[in-house]
Subunit: 335 residues, 2 copies
DNA sequence: GTGAAAGCGCTAACAA
DNA sequence: TTGTTAGCGCTTTCAC
């Protein structure tokens, strides 16, 4: 390219580097030649010297949960607007992410965002040793010095418990997700704690496993209550919206029950589907945009020289969105 | 790394290159040292010489349509299994993809997959000149020599027309998507053609604009029929499932209609949500896995030396999935 | 099977 | 403001 345009290599480099000292006329001339020759600078080559690729890795669990689609979409939107590229990886839900991380490290990514996967301490230190920041999204790994952002899951669980209590529920069940994940655990814990505080007996708080999926919850509900409808509690808390939706469909379409008349339902996440007519799910909203911004700020991609922030565990509060799967005690508030 | 392990640079390179001539003992020794030193080969550097990055770009429209989430997920699964990385890009639905393509070209991707976006001939030739194959997914650009894979949308539209006709419908409406996209156009055309052939009058085939989204279709249906229920046709064809779902919700929850008793509904895509209880949508299934495989075969990532396949327009047939939004004339067949 | 040396396309001093 | 030079971390001849 340089030769063809009759200028030095450095001139070309400068022409494509905003803020570098080059005469405006020359820059224009080079840009014009580049267009004519269909020249596109090679970012791969430049990152070899700059040590910056402008690539960020996003490692996700299964995209079957629309919540994570929303998360991915938000990360893509933000990063793309900053001129960064996204290397997307999926790993099986809850599986360990070692292989994925090793692979993205080969590509010298500027940062790693990890959702729905385990992170070994070995990988954490490998990343940190190489100066690559890593942030956990909606996940907390006890004992890890990796930083992360998550919703206040415990608090969110409490909010849901309060909503049910206010509506008069006295017996409960939870549909849990990945039993190893802190996200599900925390929501379960907050929910349970609040109920106990309100004087509910442990025996009146049931738990079933929904595997974090629509089908899992659908089948779990059928398995638990279809033949024993007498066991049905007043209220069921789906640890995430997609499971709450599976539960609703099983309850209504397969068992002929009315929601919230026969059983109340609560969810968590506030995915777009939750507000749709068939569901109108009362749920705890996670502020995805805010959480994404927090995650990116922990990565501080713009100041690579800054030391990596370790051990941060940023929690942002969720918010209860009243819709129609729990009778509203007083006034209702759709957003 | 080489120095630290007391071997040559080349030896390290060979140790990490399957099939290169190196003594097994030496390879093991190097691999062991690498592990100890947390060494990870730099793919960025290697691609500078090999001219292969093992990165494939996937450019998508909005992820609000679950169909494209499914598509993305499938591409990720396949490519990841092949040891390739995915650079994900989103562009506004139907917007041109020039900027996105220029950006991925800087990263020397081995191939480009493009869905839901326009592709200029200039970009096509830039890619081809540099030997980068590009494949259109579910999109056909007339006059372009870019290759692509798509469902037989015209045929799918015909299938839906036949289903409605068999169920006795005599008046129709379509909820169209992006008016500039061939995908929507083809489905509309096939549907209309078949109806005309069956003797339906043009006046009995209405069209409304659903903007390819749930909300768009929801509102369009309300706008078209709420105050004029007498205009309601026997059958409504949502050009994609997400719009069919929006239409169903509007019809049932806002207008109190029964499906299929008061109005039949058909969709296209067969997204996972379509089989769920609230919808049980009769739709035309796109064989995503097959289409993805076809797309990847057109890219022939494994034989970069082969000339780029141009002008291919591979069409795979869709299949009608009978569920419950159209009364089945005779026997029904869930997949 | 192995190492030395050249070079991939760029950026970053440095000197002019 | 400009061009020259020396690498960035790897792969690839090419001798050995």
């Amino acid at each position: 390219m340089a030769a063809l345009a009759g200028v030095s290599q450095s001139a070309v480099s400068r022409a494509f580097t905003p803020g570098s000292s080059i005469a405006e006329a020359k820059r224009q001339r080079i840009l014009e030649a580049a267009r004519r020759l269909n020249y596109v600078p090679n970012s791969i080559a430049s990152s070899l010297t700059t040590k910056r690729t402008n690539i960020v890795a996003v490692i996700l669990g299964n995209l079957a949960n629309p919540f994570y689609v929303e998360v991915l979409r938000t990360f893509i939107a933000r990063l793309q607007a900053q001129g960064r590229q996204i290397l997307t990886f999926t790993v099986d839900n809850g599986a360990d992410s070692d292989e994925a991380i090793l692979r993205v490290l080969r590509y010298q990514v500027d940062g790693v965002i990890l959702t729905s996967a385990q992170l070994s301490t070995r990988m954490t230190s490998i990343c940190h040793d190489r100066g690559i920041p890593i942030v956990l999204f909606n996940r907390y790994i006890p004992g890890s010095d990796a930083s992360g952002v998550r919703c206040d899951n415990t608090g969110g669980g409490r909010l849901m418990a309060e909503a049910f209590l206010a509506a008069g529920a006295r017996s409960f069940a939870m549909i849990k997700g990945d039993p190893k994940g802190t996200t599900s655990q925390d929501r379960v814990r907050g929910f349970t704690e609040r109920l106990i505080e309100a004087g509910i007996a442990r025996a009146d708080i049931g738990e079933i496993e929904g595997q974090s999926t629509y089908d899992g919850a659908f089948n779990a509900v059928l398995g638990a209550y279809r033949r024993k409808p007498e066991r049905l509690p007043d209220a069921i808390f789906g640890i995430n919206d997609i499971m709450a939706m599976g539960a609703m469909d099983a309850l209504r379409q397969r068992m002929g029950l009315k929601i919230p008349d026969d059983v109340m339902i609560g969810g968590f996440d506030d995915i777009p589907e939750s507000r749709r007519h068939p569901y109108q799910l009362t749920t705890v909203r996670q502020p995805v945009g805010l959480m994404v911004d927090e995650a990116l700020s922990i990565l501080h991609l713009d100041e690579p020289a800054q030391p990596i922030e370790m051990g941060i565990d940023r929690q942002v509060p969720g918010r209860l969105i009243w819709r129609s799967t729990i009778p509203t005690p007083t006034a209702s508030s759709e957003d």
